[in-house]
């Protein structure tokens, strides 16, 4: 824990910045940012929100598997070293020990990368946490395609894996605002939560909208007559950008942000998708298999609501390594590609 210092630790919680000078074509998992060149960002929103919450909540503890720095938990470790547990590169004991602490009254926030939680520690999350409905909060960086490191680090199927786990609530926040509001909310939730984390310099987007994070609720961020985009995570950011561009072409695009993947806000989704006359597009930073798109599709079909339906998602494939903007273009989740796909479908 004492080794996690320096660069990332100097970040301040409430600074926003606009940076148009630095080149952003980076492959690295650690320094790649999903922020556009002209976007406002906030540093380490998860770490700072957790520190803020921990002031009032002595039962909150933080654990990580040697990824404190890259999950922004180092901010918490610096503020509360006596409540921080460095479990080493050992995701199984990370999860089961968090379960052990939770049954004794702690609220553990356990962090690692999404690939390691979903693929390596699944059994331990399932049986040492979820089966007893223990309040462990699993917060994981590099969800979907947010690193250029290739398949070993790209958690393109984490939602598909975790959606099948009973008791587990799944959250996919869009930006720094969403993360900051989600942290106290998921801490209050009595059961286990998996939250996909955007870390480092995280875009600030949702303050332009009348928005408040509520667990289990989808929120209509803007309305439009031709297309309804249902999205989560960073794809809500892309959907909002795409909607602005399509507006110039007189294409009305509504954006329904659904940060809670499970349980899904079926009521709001059915209401919006059932309005009729609109193309429904689900956009997600995840494989086309088993994520938000198929969750929405199942919801619609079971209710007999069958609008024209399309998915914007990552292909069912092991993806390439490389610079993120290039990869987002290649796999169809950049703003330009979202706009192009929707135009093609209309």
């Amino acid at each position: 824990m004492s080794t996690q210092t320096a660069k990332a630790g100097t970040a301040k919680s409430d600074t926003t910045k606009s940076d148009t000078t630095k080149p952003r074509l980076k492959t690295s998992a650690m320094i790649a940012s999903i922020a556009g060149a002209d976007q406002r960002t906030r540093s380490a929103p998860f770490g700072h929100a957790l520190v803020e919450l921990a002031k009032k909540r002595p039962e909150i503890v933080g654990l990580t598997a040697d990824l404190g720095k890259y999950t922004d938990l180092h901010i918490f470790a610096q503020a509360y070293p006596e409540r921080f547990y460095q479990m080493g590169m050992a995701e199984q004991v990370l999860m089961a020990a968090a379960g052990g602490m939770a049954r004794e009254g702690c609220i553990p926030f356990a962090t690692t990368y999404a690939v390691f939680a979903a693929r390596r520690a699944y059994d331990f999350i399932c049986l040492s946490i979820a089966e007893e409905n223990l309040p462990v909060k699993i917060v994981c960086a590099l969800p979907g395609l947010t690193t250029g490191y290739g398949p070993s680090h790209q958690a393109t199927e984490d939602l598909a894996i975790f959606r099948g786990m009973p008791n587990l609530t799944i959250v996919d926040p869009c930006d720094a605002i969403d993360i900051e509001q989600a942290v106290p909310t998921i801490a209050d939730h009595p059961g286990p939560v998996y939250m996909r984390l955007l870390r480092g310099q995280v875009p600030v987007v949702l303050d332009e909208y009348d928005y408040r994070f509520e667990l289990g609720k989808a929120k209509l961020l803007r309305d439009g007559g031709e297309v309804l985009i249902i999205s989560s995570g960073l794809m809500t950011m892309r959907a909002l950008e795409a909607a602005k561009r399509l507006e110039r072409d007189r294409i009305g695009v509504a954006v329904l942000h659904s940060p809670t993947i499970k349980p899904l806000d079926t009521e709001t989704i059915l209401r919006e998708a059932g309005r009729g006359g609109r193309l429904v597009v689900v956009a997600e930073n995840h494989s086309v298999i088993g994520g938000l798109g198929e969750a929405v599709a199942g919801t619609l079909l079971r209710a007999g609501v069958t609008p024209p339906f399309r998915q914007i998602a990552l292909p069912d494939a092991f993806l390439d390594a490389g610079a993120l903007p290039t990869l987002h273009d290649r796999y169809g989740i950049s703003t330009e590609q979202v706009v192009a796909q929707i135009k093609g479908w209309l």
Binding site: M87, G88, R103, E104, G105, C106, D123
Partner: protein, 283 residues
């Protein structure tokens, strides 16, 4: 009903409690039609020593924060734990005869904290228990409570890599109130542990991982009491590992050290034979 013996029990009473534990296990498996006889019988003395002498418990308050914790890593030995909990008064006696008998009963193949008062952690997937114990012991340090966390592992179970993650972290955090008991009966489903995956020299390995290691005869109640009772003042010390050398199927001669009895079905003749051997406490 609870067993009418005074707690902490004397050695003679513990031997009787261990005998009844094996009979209860026979009755549970009779209700189910099959069971993990060998795995249960190898740890009957360990569990009995804990529940009738060593552990600080209040059966009227299963969630008492000051109680000692017990995690059954080798969850398939659940009947051994169930018998101890029933005979200490946590659960009603009639549950014995309902074990696995139909869907909806409280006692099932593996422990479940959701249905069974006195069970501190659900089990069944090998390799979880010690990590859960690490979390319990860490929380005890945070809360400044002096409870102990006892985790019973099979010697086959320690082939799971997660167990070694837990061994390392318990030593790092000096969890002196964590005790890992390894039921070393030397057999697993597919053969002897030397054939399946050799883990010896276990004591050397655990010492190298920073644990205080003691070995004893896992059926010798006096020896077990000596190594299990670590006191309540080892807050910041090396965690203790007890390698309890046991015999799989101990107490029923035709089951002892026979691989078939990891889990199997008794014929009526075998059932009579086994019960005849369990009419008196083991020496």
């Amino acid at each position: 009903m609870s067993l009418q013996i005074k707690v902490p029990a004397t050695l003679a009473d513990l031997a009787e409690a261990a005998r009844i534990n094996r009979i209860d296990t026979m009755d549970m498996f009779a209700a189910a039609g099959n069971g993990h006889y060998g795995s249960c019988f190898s740890c009957a003395e360990i569990v009995t020593a804990l529940y009738f002498n060593v552990m600080r418990l209040d059966p009227a308050r299963p969630d008492w924060p000051e109680r000692d914790r017990f995690v059954l890593g080798k969850g398939h030995a659940a009947p051994t734990l169930y018998s101890a909990l029933i005979r200490r008064g946590y659960m009603p006696e009639h549950w014995i005869h309902e074990f696995e008998a139909k869907v909806g009963v409280k006692l099932m193949t593996h422990p479940s904290r959701r249905y069974q008062p006195g069970v501190d952690a659900s089990g069944g997937a090998l390799g979880h228990g010690l990590s859960i114990g690490v979390g319990m012991a860490l929380a005890g340090k945070i809360d400044r409570r002096d409870y102990r966390s006892f985790v019973l592992l099979g010697d086959g179970e320690i082939q799971e890599g997660s167990v070694w993650e837990a061994f390392a972290s318990a030593a790092k955090y000096r969890l002196g109130h964590l005790v890992a008991i390894i039921d070393a009966n030397g057999l697993s489903v597919d053969g002897t542990l030397d054939e399946v995956m050799p883990m010896e020299p276990l004591a050397d390995k655990l010492s190298a991982f920073g644990w205080e290691v003691v070995e004893c005869d896992g059926h010798d109640l006096a020896a077990l009491l000596r190594v299990l009772d670590i006191g309540h003042d080892r807050v910041d010390a090396a965690p203790r590992a007890i390698i309890a050398r046991t015999v799989k199927g101990r107490g029923v001669s035709f089951m002892e050290n026979v691989r078939r009895w990891h889990a199997d079905v008794l014929t009526p003749d075998e059932d009579r034979l086994a019960r005849a051997e369990l009419t008196r406490p083991l020496s």
